[in-house]
């Protein structure tokens, strides 16, 4: 749908199936970024001249859009970061480091992205908190039963991807949120793969902290969001100190920092990125996330149906309900398959998708991933199928 809005699709014959890595940008997002650089380049929060006031207003308006987009209570619960990774690291080292005690337990899974595993492992090394992996089921998915069985009296945090990038399963976050509320556990959600694909409501799902990046939802790179419930976020200790986050300071050392959100946004922020992210949110909201999700699932189910007809193709996540298909050609290394598909102008990802320990679960360390988005079509999937049908020519083509 809406292919005409994407210059990349008009300018090349590329078939882009790597939306789990990053997404293409619609014209309105590009225009918003270019407008900032060509019509009103100025810093935010310096409102004594007109163009700065324009920027200021737009910049803060995006915060309101995000608040509504994720169902937050207050606009100052929205902090701009450079992306999911910075958001999760800020949660872990700005909040959890002070909140958790040695031997407290943090529950994650082996199918998380590196950015939702390594900060916790690092914290466990420094602080002595225990990181435990909730077992996955036979389809490599998280179940509520397994989650409940993993919770102990020491469980203080559950940190999960809403949709995993290596398996593509959607976690039942509403149910998990309820469990966390009942048991007084903090719930951290990595929404990198779900934002822009599925609606999310931080209040309804009792999410304590949420992290996502704009570039995976049609927005610019280098900008993302950290959401935190106000009372928690207000206790988060800034990692950066400087301009924009202080109310005043004296040579005596007397000082005061600003309230949220400014306290956690020291220095000039990625203004162009924020404005582009705002345009992406408008664009997605107009189409409707439910419609996007429905369409992606249709593409995924079509791809699975067609892939199953080809000999020697193994699919690892046949039943997951997002637009991600994980597959291999039998006895062919995933990178060779990706290089082969590149000869047909088809972009897929090969490797372990930054989820390096998911191999313990799916017993294969490298796979190909085709991840679909709203602008992909069944005709493009037909071309993938057609290419894979020529698998006997793979070495002739890649070597």
């Amino acid at each position: 749908m809406n292919r005409e809005d994407f210059e990349m699709l008009n300018n090349s014959n590329v078939i882009y199936f790597d939306n789990g890595a990053t997404t293409l940008k619609p014209k309105c997002v590009v225009k918003e970024v270019v407008d900032y650089y060509t019509k009103y380049t100025a810093n935010a929060h310096r409102g004594d001249y007109t163009i700065s006031q324009i920027v200021d207003e737009k910049y803060e308006k995006v915060r309101d859009k995000i608040k509504d987009f994720i169902g937050a209570t207050r606009r100052d619960e929205i902090i701009y970061t450079k992306g999911t990774t910075e958001s999760i690291n800020t949660i872990v080292f700005g909040f959890m480091k002070n909140y958790l005690k040695p031997n407290d337990e943090v529950l994650i899974t082996k199918s998380e992205h590196a950015s939702n595993i390594l900060p916790w492992i690092e914290l466990s090394k420094r602080l002595g908190v225990i990181v435990k992996y909730i077992p996955l089921n036979n389809e490599h998915e998280l179940t509520v039963d397994n989650l409940l069985r993993s919770i102990t009296s020491k469980t203080k945090v559950i940190s999960l991807a809403h949709i995993t990038n290596a398996v593509g399963d959607i976690r039942p976050i509403e149910e998990i949120g309820k469990i966390c509320k009942d048991k007084n556990i903090l719930f951290v959600v990595d929404a990198a793969q779900s934002i822009g694909h599925l609606p999310i409501d931080v209040q309804k799902n009792n999410i304590s902290f949420l992290a996502f990046s704009a570039h995976k939802m049609l927005g610019p790179t280098g900008i993302g969001v950290l959401y935190g419930k106000y009372d928690l976020l207000n206790k988060l200790v800034p990692n950066e100190y400087g301009g924009g986050m202080n109310s005043y300071f004296e040579s005596s050392g007397e000082l005061e920092y600003k309230p949220l959100p400014e306290r956690l946004e020291a220095g000039t922020q990625n203004i162009a990125g924020v404005l582009g992210m705002g345009a992406a949110i408008d664009y997605l909201s107009n189409i409707g996330l439910e419609n996007i999700h429905k369409y992606e699932l249709e593409l995924k189910e079509y791809a699975v149906k067609e892939l199953l007809k080809i000999p020697n193709i193994k699919i690892y996540n046949q039943n997951s309900k997002s637009g991600i298909v994980i597959f291999n050609i039998d006895k062919i290394f995933s990178q060779d398959t990706a290089v082969f598909l590149n000869h047909f102008n088809i972009c897929v990802r090969a490797g372990n998708h930054c989820a390096k320990i998911v191999k313990d679960e799916i017993n294969v360390s490298n796979t190909c991933r085709a991840s679909f988005y709203l602008y992909n079509t069944k005709e493009e999937i037909d071309q993938l199928i057609n290419a894979l049908k020529q698998q006997d020519k793979i070495f002739e083509i890649i070597l």
Binding site: F333, Q335, A350, S365
Partner: protein, 140 residues
Amino acid sequence: MDEKLKRDIILENYQNPVNKGLTNSSGYVKINTRNSSCVDNIDVMAKLENGVFIDIRFDGEACAISTSATSIMIKTLIGKTVDEVKNIVDNYEKMINGEKYDADVLGQLVVYNTVAKQPSRKKCAFLPFEAIRQIIKDIG
């Protein structure tokens, strides 16, 4: 060398690589090397006697280019002295990077002489050589 012959050599070494599988015998130096693109992952182990590589073995998961390059590298380097190996590794690196190199010392490894045209495959082709370089460094 004709393209079809090059492809056949690469494919033969990918499908039937030599010395695949590690050994527990003593006297080996072992190195793990991973492609920074986070895909290929191989272990290389080598045994030297009197400054000569008398055995090299490997194991792991890697693409056609990495695996075949490891196999051809092993065949080329066994029996060579440390200095000869250093010279081969240096010239191979030059070839991979599209620089001037001495083809005479490389033997069958010249099948990768067009890899320079595919930047994403350079690391794959050089992966086992990185391990050999590290082994030489480790043994001092």
